[in-house]
Amino acid sequence: MFIIKCPYCGERDHSEFSYGGEAHLVRPKQPTELSDDQWAEYLFMRKNIKGLQYERWNHSHGCRRWFNAARDTSNDKIHSVYKIGEKPNK
């Protein structure tokens, strides 16, 4: 159980949010030119990091907007949140 700071609404319990998985996966620009390997990489393969991970969240029971978070998956501590389109603070 943890608190997530929505960049639009502030701190809320995580149960107000929906998880969107690994962030910064870019949909291929030319899907027709991809090999099956490349499709599998985009669709299925995940970093599944134990440690600091960049991921997407949606404030589904609040402002309903998407944003990104940098969270440590080994202890669920959120290090920073940032808006869609922005780069994470390293």
């Binding site: 159980m1 599998a40 393969m45 995940r46 990091i49 991921e55 080994s74």
Partner: protein
């Protein structure tokens, strides 16, 4: 040589106050080199080592475990065993395991307390009824026993289920696999460990893998907290941490690791002599031999390696349990815990070679790996020894995510992943 467990051994050892039992397995120092190393000393890993030694005549094998054997998901599950899966590939895989379970205590000379008390899967709406009837037929076509029970039969088979038509999700019928049931989770790990050890397998605990050494496209060995171990074959059975190990070898896997919770109640007198699962309301319950109700909750939605889930998940499960079994309303819960499960996009496991020669993965069992322990070890041992999959695990290769030939058990597995 291991001494056999028997009634005579029990009497003999009782005369010396049970102080002279032989050690069940040794605690060896790691050797410099092994023919094969299994990473992960849970049930699946220990079973793999056991069958490598027994059926493939490999004697120089080690199992390395970062904690203690059976201390991960083997010790954290709800011990349910069944094989009523929809697709042919899954039916073959899980029924292979169930058949081994049926003789496992005799085979290992270790009581794994396998109890074929039956598993029910409840239907709560018309769609469930159609799906579960379809699964009943599919199971029978695959030679797996499965019966359909109407509401009266459900009430007769398990009287404490609330079969009132007035509850939010009324019970409309159920499947019943009579050969299914439960087993003692620790005993499975310990039985396989004892069996493997007696054939010379080194079980090395408190030994965490820190790196995988490659020479081009083949394996040279593993770096561990207890030094470098040279080997040409590495079988990884690391459950929730599979991606962490894969990362060391420069591989990517289609896995997400999430916390899955379970809980047990205070012990009560025998009240439920079967296993009841419900996919639609996500509640499943059985009773242990100690008398505790064993209740499985769901996974959290996000990736986490914390071995603890959130309270809402438990609350949701207990709400469903209370509606289905009002008789439990004043029962107190005793313990709650979480395990980290590695989930594949198609909710089926991977038992496969990889693009690196000598590196094999057995992972992706998600929320339902315990039932497959003996079969998983048996097939993974075959895959490692022969460097090619057994017919029963050929469909569970890692390349299915490239070819698109998925084994989609999301709907067919008994509880949602």
């Amino acid at each position: 040589m291991k001494k056999k467990y028997s009634i005579f051994a029990l009497i003999k050892n009782s005369l010396s106050y049970h102080e002279n039992w032989q050690r069940a397995w040794r605690d060896p120092e790691p050797k410099k080199e092994y023919d094969a190393v299994i990473v992960g000393g849970g049930g699946h890993g220990l079973a793999t080592a056991y069958y490598l030694a027994k059926e493939h005549n490999l004697k120089n094998i080690a199992v390395v475990e970062k904690g203690w054997i059976g201390g991960g998901n083997t010790g954290r599950n709800t011990t349910i065993i069944r094989s009523n899966y929809l697709w042919d590939a899954s039916a073959g895989l899980y029924d292979h395991a169930l058949k081994i379970w049926e003789n496992l205590s005799q085979e290992l000379n270790y009581n794994v307390m396998f109890s074929q008390r039956g598993v029910m899967n409840l239907a709560h709406n018309q769609h469930d009824v159609r799906e579960l009837k379809r699964r009943t037929h599919a199971n029978r076509l695959n030679g797996i026993d499965c019966d359909w029970l109407n509401v009266e039969q459900v009430k007769k088979f398990c009287p404490i289920i609330n079969c009132s038509p007035n509850i939010r999700y009324p019970v409309m019928g159920s499947t019943l696999q009579r050969r299914a049931g439960t087993a003692r989770h620790d005993a499975v790990a310990w039985g396989y460990a004892r069996g493997a050890d007696s054939m010379g397998v080194d079980i090395i605990q408190n030994c965490e893998v820190k790196g995988i050494k490659r020479n081009g496209n083949s394996i040279e060995g593993i770096e561990t907290t207890r030094g470098f171990i040279k080997t040409q074959k590495v079988g990884v059975v690391a459950a929730g941490h599979s991606s962490v190990i894969a990362n060391m070898a420069g591989l990517r896997l289609p896995l997400e690791s999430k916390p899955l919770q379970a809980l047990v109640s205070e012990p009560i007198k025998p009240i439920i002599d079967t296993v009841v699962m419900s996919n639609a309301v996500h509640a499943y319950v059985s009773q242990s031999d100690k008398g505790e109700l064993v209740i499985g909750a769901g996974t959290d939605s996000y990736i986490s390696y914390t071995q603890k889930g959130t309270h809402e998940i438990i609350e949701g499960t207990l709400k469903a349990i209370l509606e289905l079994y009002p008789i439990f309303s004043r029962l107190r819960m005793l313990r709650q815990w979480g395990g980290v499960v590695d989930i594949c996009p198609d909710a089926s496991p991977i038992i496969s070679k990889t693009s690196i020669k000598g590196l094999y993965f057995n992972c992706g069992w998600g929320t339902g790996g315990f039932k497959a322990t003996p079969g998983s070890g048996h097939l993974f041992a075959h895959t490692i020894a022969k460097d090619e999959p057994h017919a029963l695990n050929a469909a569970f290769n890692i390349n299915r995510f490239i070819s698109g030939d998925l084994v989609d058990e999301h709907g067919a597995a008994a509880v949602a992943h």
